[in-house]
Amino acid sequence: MGYVAIKGGGRAIEGAADALELLRTRQAESASPLDTDTIEKQLYFLHSRILSEGGLYHPQLASLAIKQSLGDTLEASFALRAYRSTKPRLLETPVHDTRNMRLIRRISASFKDIPGGQMLGPTTDYALRLLRMELLNESPEQFQAIAKRLFAGLPERVVPDSFPKVLDSLRAEGLLPQVNQAAREQPFDITREPLIFPVPRSAALATMARGETGSLLAIAYSNMRGYGDVHPTVAELRVGYLPVMLPHPITGELTEVGEVLMTECEVVAMYQGDDTQSVPTFTLGYGACFGHNEVKAISMAILDRALQKGMQDGPENPSEDPEFVLLHVDGIDSMGFASHYKMPHYVTFQSDMDRLRTTQQKQEAGHE
């Protein structure tokens, strides 16, 4: 019955919470709960995604968010983001240089030989996507033996602490525009200021950095397929740990306070005819986010390039339109609004029926 459905809401909500909790625990005695460390390590990419879309670098709480949301990426990021709302912004970090990243992976698609060399690292790029049936019944002993085997006989240092950036060599050759130090704006904090268009590039980058992976990918893909013409080359994609520096509270000296796992991607796009510039150069697109999220970083870099073009020449495609891209890539916003349609809309529907009936009556009267 229509009206009763919205009565007794309190009890229904409690019941729903219990039903969901039962879903989480229904393995009962035969299982033990997921521990947050296991989530961080064994659901590594899921965990990375939540760190990034949640917009808060807190590995343990990201695991907790995954656990309590039963692995729903949108819900988990949401919980992390809502937790973030309760925290004031106390300090600002200076601009960080990703040359200092401790890398686990870096590749370039533009050159075979890059200074420091290509390092594939952990990737599924060249893996055969065949189901590994032996993992179906993997025993703890088998599981533990693998790491032991992989660590055995490793030299202590195989990877240097840092690698030079591919872009530096392109820049040295004059193929890229020089960095305009004077134009370096104060970064825009999207958590403290609303987006009012036109927005600075830093606001666009920050919005995409915590954007939803699938949304970024879909819009970037539209550009790749032909609704746009970025035609990027991945100059460098790197994944690793960036030391985070903060000024010491007393001495003011920059001090390392920890490190964040992040993915960074720089794409080089074909040069554009620009009347104001005498020497044509390649153009750049930049993507970076918390965690190990390569598809997201690449999508973001392509969109950054597309948006810069759109801001300069006016958007010709959705992916070049800052409003279209930036207001539709946030997973918390879009999933919230999609879900809200499940709430009662009795009043507005009553209004809709009133309009439709009146219009129908008028039409019928007109036909008589």
Binding site: I6, S85, E193, F197, H340, P344, H345, Y346, V347, K362
Partner: protein
């Protein structure tokens, strides 16, 4: 509070920012003030804009009423009220309009008139009435600044040409203080006249779209219409032209919910459950 969460959930900086935006919104009636809008622990679209306003305004001596679809007991109203009670220890809550100092509502303005010492917070999914004619926020901002609402008027005109009726059912574009046209949130047309010359301050919070706007007390609020095609509220008359009454309290003036009862009969009932109960109490008492 446990979990180390601040009173009213938000940190003090966030609350202060919202209050600053609020003052601006009151000073420029109907103007959409952008604000940063924090993520709340409930879905964007479930009233996070209204919730942030409520949390920025509420103090321990406030009495809060939360309604959704006119009812204090609908799932979303219960959910919001529970959250506010949990994060704001010391506040009182009520379902009686007269007892409340702060009222948060979705889709309805209460039947009974609000007082000058009450504040109504409405939850807003789409803050901009122009969105039905212009998708770009940047362009809409210019149109608002110039009070250029010609395309909205054309939309109304086209409705009349096509359907002989203005088809906008709810979220009816309303001009505030002679300049800005607002989306008054998805209240029915029945509620729009209550915005006009209201004694209470009426606030609008759009969390996902990150906007706050206001209709201050004793302010002009005029639904968009033409001289020869007046604005009309929902029609609750039956086939004989008689105004339908609430089956519980018998009110013939309230906004009604229509539904099919267990016998398969179409029945009507007040949408504002508090008003309906008070009417019944009066009748019995």
């Amino acid at each position: 509070m446990s979990n180390g969460i601040n009173f009213a959930f938000l940190d003090e900086y966030a609350k202060r920012e919202i209050r600053r935006s609020l003052i601006k919104a009151i000073c420029i009636p109907g103007y959409q003030v952008p604000y940063s809008s924090r993520e709340m622990p409930m879905g964007r679209g479930f009233g996070t804009g209204g919730l942030q306003l409520t949390l920025a305004l509420i103090g321990a001596d406030d009495t809060l009423k939360v309604i959704d679809q006119g009812s204090d007991d609908s799932v979303n109203a219960v959910n919001l009220r529970k959250f506010i009670e949990m994060t704001c220890p010391g506040i009182a809550t009520t379902t009686r309009l007269q007892e409340a100092t702060l009222i948060q509502s979705r889709h309805r303005i209460p039947e009974q008139a609000l007082r000058a010492d009450q504040i109504l917070v409405l939850q807003v999914p789409y803050p901009d009435a122009l969105v039905i004619v212009e998708p770009s926020e940047d362009k809409r901002k210019i149109m608002h600044g110039e009070a250029d609402y010609s395309r909205l008027l054309v939309k109304l005109y086209e409705d009349i040409v096509k359907f002989d009726e203005i088809t906008i059912s709810h979220r009816y574009p309303t001009r505030i203080n002679g300049h800005y046209i607002i989306d008054p949130s998805p209240i029915p047309r029945y509620d729009v006249p209550k915005l006009h010359n209201s004694k209470a301050l009426i606030l609008f919070g759009a969390g996902r779209e990150k906007k706050i706007y206001a209709v201050p007390p004793h302010c002009l609020a005029e639904p968009l219409a033409f001289d020869d095609v007046p604005f009309r509220i929902e029609d609750f008359s039956d086939s004989h032209g008689e105004r339908r009454a609430c089956k519980l309290c018998g009110s013939k003036t309230s906004f009604l919910d229509e539904f099919i009862d267990e016998q398969g009969v179409r029945v009507y009932q007040c949408s504002d459950s508090d008003y309906c109960e008070q009417q019944q109490e009066c009748a019995h008492g």
